[in-house]
Symmetry: C2
Subunit: 146 residues, 2 copies
DNA sequence: CCCTAATCATTCGGCTATCTAAGTATCATT
DNA sequence: AATGATACTTAGATAGCCGAATGATTAGGG
């Protein structure tokens, strides 16, 4: 079995990322009626997993500057997808959480993005499916921390 | 070994894609002196693999509307990275190709993006490296065609 | 040959997303 | 209570993208 260099692995991962992005982005754009961008979806996803997070945490996770996230959240609040409450003992901080509508919107958006991929993977043999799944699982921790 | 559903695989791939994008985008933004966005890089990459392509082909590959690609290419031409020639027997069409500087800029940009990932993968054991590489190789054809 | 379609690309106007810099409110420390 | 740090917001500017309209060229019937 050939030993892969870090460079080759990085190259492969980057290429796949670009391909997936290309497939998924137009689909997400089609959700424009609901005005959800990829950043919106990522913010919603983070809040789904981390209720009552503050603004900085979301900004950090999504990879946006604070001001950008501030206006982004503003939009989500205006659409009724997120509740912006004050933190209990520090009134500078926010306490952000999804509303019921927010959870619904997240589900819908993710489903749309995933549907594109699922269609693509229709002919992926079960064995390879498992292989890919395993690879993604291994990759995840290396991409998250830091 | 658990049999993975298509849904799970799609979910995993989407998640990893989002994580990688989050890591790579800021790095690419740091190339601002050269003003290269991800779309720019993808356009350069396509032209590297397909010299003398016309505008529609690049737009299609990158996933942008024609007007957007028109201005994008305009920028690349202004920076001396791409040559915009007329096609021989159809003067509506363009014949786009990288200049020497364009090839250099592409190499530089890709290297920057990959470097971020390589750093992340420093502690990925060789066995898992091979696993990931294999998974990416299997995935590629399913994401490219169509 | 022409006239009409169709095709390829550009320009225009507008909107979204993002950044930096500056400002406001609150908390922490001495 | 004064100073500095922290969390967020507002303001101003720019890039990226789209749809609609336009220009230029070619293709296909009469």
């Amino acid at each position: 079995m050939a030993q892969q260099s870090r460079r080759e692995v990085a190259e492969g991962v980057l290429e796949i990322t670009l391909l997936v992005t290309r497939l998924v982005t137009p689909e997400v754009r089609r959700l424009r009626p609901k005005q959800l961008s990829l950043s919106h979806i990522r913010a919603l996803g983070f809040l789904d997993a981390n209720p009552d997070a503050d603004l900085s945490a979301v900004a950090d996770y999504v990879g946006l500057a604070l001001p950008s996230m501030s206006t982004l959240v503003d939009g989500l609040v205006r659409r009724g997808l997120v509740a912006r409450l004050a933190a209990p003992h520090d009134r500078r901080r926010l306490r952000l959480r999804l509303t019921r509508a927010g959870k619904g919107a997240l589900r819908t958006a993710l489903a749309a993005a995933q549907a594109v991929l699922e269609t693509r993977f229709a002919d992926l043999p079960p064995g390879e499916r498992a292989l890919v799944h395993r690879a993604m699982t291994r990759l995840r921790p290396f991409l998250m921390r830091g």
